[in-house]
């Protein structure tokens, strides 16, 4: 076995092992850390294929962004060190059977298929080439998806702030007060509103 083969199998073992532990571990924080290892292994796979830019993006966005966000939300929503509920065994068995069957079927069809390569000379996947094609308006440029995705990110950012912002009055209490106001005599609704705001 050549060294590159050994490196590939090591990366594959890290990815698959980390993913398996991430979906089966009962401690949610350990689950997040195993997900981190799996994502780092995927970044290593991109390095292995000489796609350094994508590997860097993977490390920055997934490892540095999403996993940290997930760990923060775990801290905000879970007590430390308590186990999650074990999944019901019938559900676990049927899910494992479905996943294993689908995996075997897909692998079978992949191994039966013969892929044809384009056979043209390779383009260097450098950051310069990627940037030139991404911002190009002619030919096969990706300027329109780039702009759409930037709008999507802006919308997601504003949406996150709107969703997660802490309102003064919780919504169910606001609803209860509104129904209370409705049930009262409707003489001074303006005064009632100002009272709820205070």
């Amino acid at each position: 076995m050549s060294p590159s083969t050994i490196i590939f199998y090591l990366l594959a073992a890290v990815i698959i092992g980390g993913a398996l532990m991430a979906v089966t571990s009962l401690k949610i924080f350990r689950s997040a850390v195993f997900l981190l290892f799996s994502l780092i292994g995927i970044a290593g796979l991109y390095f292995y294929l000489d796609y350094e830019f994508i590997a860097a993006v993977q490390v920055i966005v997934y490892v540095g962004g999403i996993v940290v966000l997930i760990i923060f939300s775990i801290f905000l929503t879970h007590g430390s060190g308590e186990d999650m509920k074990r999944p019901h065994w019938i559900r676990a068995v049927y899910s494992a059977l479905a996943a294993a069957f689908g995996c075997i079927l897909t692998m079978f069809y992949i191994s039966q298929y013969t892929f044809t390569t384009s056979g043209k000379p390779a383009v260097e996947p450098s950051a310069g080439n990627i940037g030139a094609q991404m911002l190009s308006t002619t030919g096969h440029g990706y300027i329109l998806p780039f702009e759409v995705v930037s709008m999507l990110l802006l919308a997601a950012m504003i949406g996150c702030i709107v969703i997660a912002i802490k309102v003064k009055i919780p919504p169910h209490e606001l609803l209860a007060e509104k129904t209370d106001n409705d049930s009262m005599e409707m003489t001074e609704p303006i005064l009632a509103n100002t009272q709820t705001e205070i």
Binding site: V23, I66, T106, F115, P145, C160, P170
Partner: protein
Amino acid sequence: MNDIGLFHFLFVSCALFFIGVYGFLTRRNLITMLMSVELILNSVNINFIAFNKFLYADKLDGLFFTIFIITIAAAEASVAIAIIINLYRNHKTIDVEETDVMKF
């Protein structure tokens, strides 16, 4: 690089995808379900990169798809976590079995 071909990468990504599916089906916690979705998206990314590398090395299209998937996954994860935190604030739980206010 001689003996490691496209099929190895496709098998890794296939295994990763179905591990994610298993996690999505068994987990009853919203954050771990989100983690399973991230695994599924990453398996798709491996597929795109492997196809681009081994079949269409003269183009960069698979790479762009991967970049956009990563971007949209980041947006999706942030919105999902905002919803989860808001849900936890109102219901004190993020278990999917117990958050059934809208269910009739």
